[in-house]
Symmetry: C2
Subunit: 407 residues, 2 copies
């Protein structure tokens, strides 16, 4: 294998997306080497205005838009619709996350895309899916997380606080839906291509709510059979103990996962609490789960005697899974991340210097994904793509630009 | 396309996994039709003892183990290692999530797997990855979530409570790593197969910590350029407002996402708070984020006048993204989920009746994934696979069973 070859270097993807889910999906494809052409309105993807900015340039965008080509199109113009269909003819994959039906209203129903290119894999991402009585309900990431059952569970146990359930800190519903879509696209492409039969592409219909619900482990089986409504467990875990965040003397939190029998023996020994090992209350995982609250309090009494660094040294020496709750600064400084290029500097001309990026997941040692460029300005590749892929002349492009069709 | 054909029906996958990450990955592959052979110790995957059980049968397992074939092998026996290599020769994919190096210590290093089957795609899932100074650190899902930066952010803003940061309620680090692995496997298979060149398989090296960090949006760019350490925001979101869980008169929480200019106009109009629309404090998203705390309090005052159902009716009529925080009961009853078979009954002989399962994500309308069977008992398919794939005789299998090699 050539060192310059990427896993997905022969794949061309057209994105008509915005916000997080579809652009996250195409980031994953682009990171592994796919050519991603992102269609944006002339005003740009709204995420370009999210988060911290410098001179109107979003730092998140440097990462979110990386490795993608931006083509600015006014999709309300009929000529733009034709350009999209011309692009579809040159692509393997079409990804979108507009509201269900909106693409058809813009003159781009699935049938027309398939007619233009029967081998196209069409991926739709939406709040609730492309079918069913609820498909048209308004949806955002947080709604997908709530309807998927995640938000209710991300909280302290009932009665412990009046504060609202907690967001995971990132748009987890969108990213998980984006991940499912990337998986579904690659599965559809493998089906299309793997035995040379030249099959047609198929459709990948991903709902945020469903993506989240699919992670819910025993929630549905336990409710269906026992009527059990799974409850939030704060920092702990309902099925394994001990596993929680424990306080330290220097007012930090240290996570400890000692929820297997051998690990619990190690932890109790480190605590010099051999009595815990003799008690039937903690003899196996089922018992420890039943008595998790008391056990957690015993462990917290012990951790609170130490500063976080000292405690972590002890736990690490005893080979017990443990960590502090990493902040941005901890992530940036972590030597393992740096070694694996999971934290890396990427030159971004928009800022005239290196910007700190997360690396590429998954790591493919034989053909590592790369960050070829940081997120570009709106329409940076309009002319390149219209010329190179669609054979338009500079005059054609000027006319389209004057007519407000492209930007 | 035949109606009985699944997207991945020609794909054979061997799993040497346990707990959540690798089995979740293979569930995704199996749901889309891959043949998944799960190698388990004779005592079974430990998850079989997690969560609610009936007569020692875990309800979670009905879902987690579905569509997979279980082969019980004692990997400490040399003969078992040979059997694994024989199986690798018949497979496209090998997935494992033992601790890094453990497979080599069992006599199954990557080199040997590739020698047995050059076309194999090998996927490793671990806490920190297969290389680097930290690869051997003990890791569990919660550690990956902490090191990935998620746990710190899943909390109320600093100073609001003494309670620990919150777990998302499920093993999100494991599932996200499993998703990345499924995506990476399909990308590697597409690379291997798509143009008929008959390339070798490659390696997919997924770390829990890296999988989580890759979701962290602007966290690293903003820290690197501005030194900003992203802080937890409780039920809200740092980059968009208003978006939060708001209290109702009947002591429930309703999520509202009105964080675009048109949606905010709708919400303020519904609240009959035209003053908010005239204030420069809420004129655009950047301003609303800056004043989110005051704005949330105004919205909470309004929501608290209504019971959840009434409030949701109003919000829905105004086409504002909103939802209650779904519990297991809400998920099970949701008509959209039922319509899309995302909540479905699956007959499970272990319980002698239907068990409630989450459906298949992504939805592929042309070739929908199916639940062919619920999670089986340990070793259910040992004889089938040893006979059918490896050509062993009943006598061979009896001998292996007597020697404690298979179960």
């Amino acid at each position: 294998m050539s060192v310059n070859r990427s896993l997905l270097s022969n794949l061309r993807v057209l994105e008509v997306g915005n916000y997080v889910a579809a652009p996250f999906c195409t980031r994953l494809l682009a990171d592994l080497g796919a050519e991603v052409i992102k269609i944006e309105p002339l005003s740009g993807d709204p995420v370009r205005k999210w988060g911290e900015q410098i001179d109107g340039r979003s730092l998140w965008w440097s990462l979110h838009g990386r490795n993608k080509k931006s083509v600015a199109l006014n999709l309300k113009a009929a000529k733009a619709t034709d350009l999209v269909l011309d692009l579809v003819r040159q692509c393997d994959v079409f990804v979108e996350n507009l509201r269900p039906g909106q693409l058809a209203r813009l003159g781009l129903p699935d049938e027309l895309l398939k007619q233009a290119q029967p081998k196209i894999v069409i991926a739709h991402i939406s709040g609730y899916g492309q079918s069913g009585p609820g498909r048209d309900r308004a949806a955002f990431g947080l709604i997908g997380e709530a309807v998927g059952g995640l938000r209710y569970l991300t909280n302290h146990p009932p009665g412990e606080t009046d504060l609202p359930p907690v967001r995971t800190g990132v748009s987890i519903g969108d990213s998980v839906a984006g991940l499912y879509t990337a998986f579904g696209i690659m599965a559809a492409l493998w089906n299309r291509d793997h035995d040379g039969e030249g099959r047609e592409g198929c459709t990948v219909d991903v709902a945020l709510s469903e993506s989240v619900l699919s992670l819910m482990e025993g929630l549905l089986p336990e409710y269906g059979k026992l009527g059990k409504i799974k409850q939030p467990t704060g920092g702990g875990i309902a099925t394994a103990a001990p596993s929680n965040a424990y306080p330290t003397r220097d007012k930090s939190w240290v996570l400890i996962g000692a929820n297997s029998d051998p690990l619990f023996v190690k932890l109790a020994s480190l605590m010099e609490r051999y009595d815990l090992l003799q008690s039937p209350d903690y003899a196996d995982n089922v018992s420890r789960v039943r008595n998790a609250k008391v056990l957690d309090a015993e462990i917290a009494k012990w951790t609170f005697q130490y500063d976080a660094e000292d405690l972590l040294d002890k736990l690490s020496a005893a080979d017990i899974p443990s960590s502090k709750a990493y902040t941005a600064a901890d992530c940036a400084a972590d030597e393992q991340y740096r070694y694996r290029k999971m934290v890396r500097e990427v030159f971004d001309p928009a800022f005239g210097e290196n910007i700190l990026h997360a690396g590429v997941v998954p790591h493919i040692p034989e053909m590592p994904g790369t960050v070829r460029w940081a997120g570009v300005e709106v329409g940076r590749h309009t002319s390149d793509i219209l010329t190179g892929l669609l054979g338009k002349s500079p005059e054609d492009i000027s006319t389209l630009r004057e007519e407000g069709v492209v930007g």
